[in-house]
Symmetry: C2
Subunit: 352 residues, 2 copies
DNA sequence: GTGAAAGCGCTAACAC
DNA sequence: GTGTTAGCGCTTTCAC
């Protein structure tokens, strides 16, 4: 299968000697960066195939030719959203001849900065960051500085934003997410709709909140501050405690939009713990459409981002940048709605 | 924060010049591989700190000093088990001054072989593989060859096994998993216990099956072939369809051991779809103790592996190997049982 | 204990 | 077009 790995790995010198050309010529054909006569090119290519030759990436990197690797930083791959995104990026990169390398910041800013440094030291060609400081509504100054300094000459693309850094953004259309969800719920006759989980310090959450209010207004529906979360996390517990708050304070509502699938899970559990049926009594819709959506009881109506295309777009953007092409600073990913079991028609005016 | 990154990155030559020593000496102190007089060492160290100097890993790698990176191959990080393991390894590696790099084989053998090659080309110092061909009961010949050839001089450690490769194994004690689960269930008066999901072509699953039969025998309980899965997958669908089979064929049982949390999810959903209550009617216990266990309704009784220590052991093993230490070929991780809501006392002889 | 110098494998001027 | 040569930044003999 693999040949020529018997002893020391093959180098361009070996190829050059056997082909009767200079190492430079070999380099030229494998990098495809200069003209080489057809016969020499063929000869070299033949040997490359024969020995299954792969240029040493370390040497290539050292010689300033780039490492063909993209550094990806997520907040935490254990979150299915990031896992899905990472795999999508990995696949896309693979197809384009790039390698990816992953690190998790665990949402700790110091760690983020350090990892940025690590990536630079590894000479990644570009960096993609998902989650962490790039989600901040107000970009952290120190982090901005770090990115400017460390990733200064390396393309930096993110699913969030980082004011003052010339980073490239590939973002989910947050407004559209809410449009999808609200229209679905309004069609089902819901009027008292909660918006639960998450924090207004996060760009996307804040944008969604704004859109939510706007739609309410457009539909002459009352906006009730108590129905929305302002400074919560994005996990199970946040969902659980927030819905419990509504229940305990007896704030009426018939539907809830969860900030993501994990919080939706907590919301549903709490509702069930309190004896409510979903969607008969209360509808719950969510965002992210991770594996949880399929697996929960009831299955979740959730907004999907098209992970595969999302990842591909991220990687394509990085590569376009690397190739010196002109790229839009901000690109949008359009979400779609996947309707499942957790949302239904609202019969009563509002429950609770 | 970070200093000295203004222009071109600092090199050992810069340090050497400023310290009034030779580059070799600088190298000696940063690698800590030879004796250097105390005053020079101090001087160098001071400058290293001053400039926050980090040696170029590419150059180090090229000079055959290792890259300080561990390649990790999982079947699919979107599986919470692998995600948890990866993060655990990443943390452990970080603490020991190593970097990790992740790739997903998607359980495709050709891909696995290719990725092995990619890792070699990246000059990883060692490889950790979790899932994929290392889970095969009968190791695939072609894959064995690939590992021997490609990863020949690179320490190779896995959570599975690979006969004929001198790989190192850090494995979960499969028998113990079943002991924990069976004892728990037997204590709860269950007699008809199903073993669902997974395939007997997988080492761990097979070992568990053997142990299951043995415990049945020791307790004078009947073994019913129809109660176990032999060639299924490890996902939601597998769980769902297997339990449905039992239901449709009216095979009596009062408890089921799921091969993992994902299949447990399918099992529970199917049971609920058919109107059974858990654990009142049927107990479901699982393995992996991933986030699903906490989040499901009911919460899952599941076997935990101690991800953090597991990851640490994996990484420690790798590093011990790299340091030329003597390491046991096979090390065991001891699982523990986390009892939650999905298992309860069996009142009837057996349900269905 | 310490420096000089060769070499790791590749790329990119620079000649020819 | 193609070869020669000089790095890229580090480690490691080999002398001293």
């Amino acid at each position: 299968m693999q040949k020529g790995n018997e002893n020391k790995p093959i180098t361009i010198y070996d190829i050059a000697k056997e082909a009767g050309v200079s190492p430079a010529t070999v380099s030229r054909v494998i990098t495809n960066r200069a003209n080489v006569s057809n016969d020499k090119r063929e000869k070299v290519l033949e040997l490359v195939r024969k020995y299954n030759f792969q240029p040493n990436v370390l040497a290539q990197g050292l010689a300033n030719a780039g490492t063909k690797t993209i550094g990806i930083m997520t907040a935490d791959v254990r979150n299915p959203f990031y896992a899905a995104m990472f795999v999508a990026c990995e696949q896309a990169a693979r197809e384009r001849g790039y390698t990816v390398t992953l690190c998790n910041s665990m949402d700790v800013k110091n760690q983020e900065i350090q990892l940025l440094g690590k990536m630079r030291d590894q000479r990644v060609d570009a960096i993609i960051q998902m989650g962490g400081s790039v989600d901040d509504l107000a970009s952290d100054e120190e982090y901005v500085e770090a990115v400017n300094q460390i990733a200064g000459d390396v393309p930096f693309v993110t699913t969030g934003k980082l004011d003052g850094t010339g980073c490239y953004m590939v973002r989910i259309d947050d407004r559209k997410c809410i449009d999808l969800l609200m229209n679905h719920l309004l069609d089902l006759n819901h009027q008292r709709i909660a918006l639960l989980g998450g924090s207004m310090d996060v760009v996307s959450t804040y944008a969604k909140y704004q859109r939510y209010k706007q739609i309410l207004r457009e539909n002459m529906l009352e906006f009730d501050q108590r129905l929305v979360s302002f400074d919560k996390l994005y996990n199970y517990e946040a969902g659980y405690s927030e819905i419990e708050r509504l229940l305990e304070e007896k704030i009426p509502f018939s539907a809830v939009i969860a900030v993501n699938d994990q919080s939706a899970t907590g919301i549903i559990r709490c509702l069930q713990d309190h004896g409510y049926r979903i969607p008969e009594d209360i509808s719950v819709v969510s965002q992210d459409n991770t594996m949880f959506s399929e697996i929960l009881m009831p299955k979740l109506t959730s907004v999907d981002y098209g992970y595969e295309e999302f990842g591909r777009l991220l990687v394509d953007t990085v590569i376009a940048l690397l190739e010196g092409k002109n790229v839009e600073r901000l690109q949008m990913v359009t979400p779609t709605l996947v309707v499942r079991e957790s949302s239904g028609y609202c019969t009563g005016k509002s429950i609770v």
